[in-house]
């Protein structure tokens, strides 16, 4: 995880909030570093994590995770991490018998309906163990990323329904957290993505939006991060609702600084 980002968000693995939905959004840049941050954050916080990883392989997330101080292999072996590797699992969909339910079985359908099988997979992965002993802290669902589901033919309403049910189960019933990534294509004609992004924005407690610089590529400033806190648990809490920082991604860390205050220009 990135300690500077924890400072900006005022969170630590020891005192992670519960029952929250965090929306990660990237526009004209790659916001996946935020996914890696929250994955390592919640593993270090000793949470039970279900990661629906549709974009990259397990190996990719594991290599990055090791740079951030976590071993996904170890976490999976001891039962802390349930990892749905979309790239690999999608092959099972086509070569497995049709009778067996599969979380990605919408890939079999010419007109994908709902994502109930995927929700059932998440619910099963994060349900409390029968012996009642709390081995892990609160459950966490990570999804990378929801926009891919639209590309695979799932409708925006179906994706929103999936997130709704996950929220009801993970955030409300199990008092856990959710972190989902959605891309903002910036295409005014992409109505489905707009519906998804707007719908999720209104449901989220925290929105982290990364944007590419309007001026284009810069070696020392890789983008801008806007943080928006919504639905505060304490309405009278003295805290800024919105903050904006620029950032630079390095090999094992990300540094944040006020606009125009990059160390390279000071």
């Amino acid at each position: 995880m990135f300690p500077e980002l924890n400072n900006l968000l005022n969170i630590t693995p020891d005192r992670a909030e519960q029952g929250k939905l965090t929306l990660l959004c990237d526009a004209k840049t790659d916001g996946s570093f935020l996914v890696h941050h929250f994955l390592s954050f919640y593993l270090k916080a000793n949470c039970k994590v279900c990661f629906v990883a549709l974009i990259q392989s397990f190996s990719h997330y594991n290599i990055v995770g090791q740079k951030l101080g976590v071993s996904l292999t170890l976490a999976r072996e001891r039962g802390q991490l349930v990892f749905l590797e979309g790239l690999k699992s999608s092959m099972d969909v086509f070569f497995q018998a049709n009778e067996e339910p599969h979380p990605l079985q919408f890939l079999r359908e010419a007109n994908p309906g709902n994502l109930q099988p995927l929700f059932e997979f998440v619910r099963e992965a994060l349900k409390p163990v029968d012996n009642g002993e709390a081995v892990w802290k609160c459950p966490v669902l990570l999804v990378d990323d929801l926009s891919l589901l639209l590309s695979l033919g799932v409708g925006a309403v179906a994706v929103l329904d999936f997130v709704h049910y996950c929220r009801a189960t993970v955030c409300w019933e199990l008092k856990g957290n959710m972190v989902v990534l959605v891309h903002d294509s910036g295409d005014a004609k992409d109505e489905e993505n707009d519906i998804l992004l707007n719908g999720l924005s209104h449901q989220s407690h925290l929105i982290l939006r990364t944007e590419g610089l309007a001026t284009g590529f810069c070696r020392d400033v890789h983008g801008q991060l806007r943080i928006l806190w919504r639905r505060p648990s304490q309405p009278t809490a003295q805290r800024d609702r919105s903050l904006t920082y620029q950032y630079k991604i390095q090999d094992k860390s990300v540094s944040f600084f006020a606009k125009g205050m990059s160390p390279a220009v000071l």
Binding site: D161, A168, R230, P235
Partner: protein
């Protein structure tokens, strides 16, 4: 002005503002944005209506009943009738506990009064309903509920639907028929 006097003055102004809003009656569409959520205003209006002694019905689709009731004291909470469409709106659990008639049936049933007195119907949120129901059907239902003849012999209910901006493109023009 003392700090306490200042606080009382601010509370008084808020109360007057809410009174003036509620005095308009009919259908009051609350629109919020990502930057400024409107559920707090909806809850403030609900509290005001409950304290006025009327029935308050809530169609809850977006947050849990516990979260929605947060911030209300027991006196207010006892006056609220909550229809929960958050936990299992599409009946994926197959328990058969879904409310009969779905959200539209629930809205219509809210108009049937068990006690005399004003009725307030809050919808949290219209955006969720618009994703799952035909826009024209929903707008016609709301329009019919807010009309004078929806409850013969009674004052029509006050409707407080919350909707999130930006609106989907196909919805904006139909919502204008609600006559904000």
């Amino acid at each position: 002005m003392t700090p306490s006097g200042g606080a009382r003055g601010e509370t008084g102004h808020k109360s007057e503002m809410l009174d003036s809003l509620l005095g308009l009656g009919g259908l009051m569409l609350l629109r919020d944005s990502v930057e400024w959520e409107g559920r707090s205003l909806l809850k403030a209006l609900i509290k005001k209506c409950a304290l006025s002694g009327g029935q308050v019905h809530i169609l809850g689709c977006e947050v849990s009943e516990e979260e929605f009731r947060e911030g209300f004291d027991s006196d207010i909470n006892n006056r609220l009738v909550y229809r929960d469409f958050f936990r299992d709106p599409l009946n994926w659990s197959k328990t058969g506990e879904a409310l009969p008639g779905g959200p539209l049936g629930a809205l219509t049933a809210m108009c049937k009064r068990t006690d005399p007195g004003p009725v307030t119907i809050a919808v949290d949120s219209l955006s969720w309903l618009l994703l799952h129901l035909p826009c024209t059907t929903l707008c016609q239902t709301l329009h019919a509920l807010s009309r004078q003849d929806s409850c013969p012999g009674e004052t029509p209910p006050l409707l407080l639907p919350l909707i999130h901006l930006p609106l989907p493109r196909n919805v904006s023009q139909f919502l204008s028929t609600l006559g904000e």
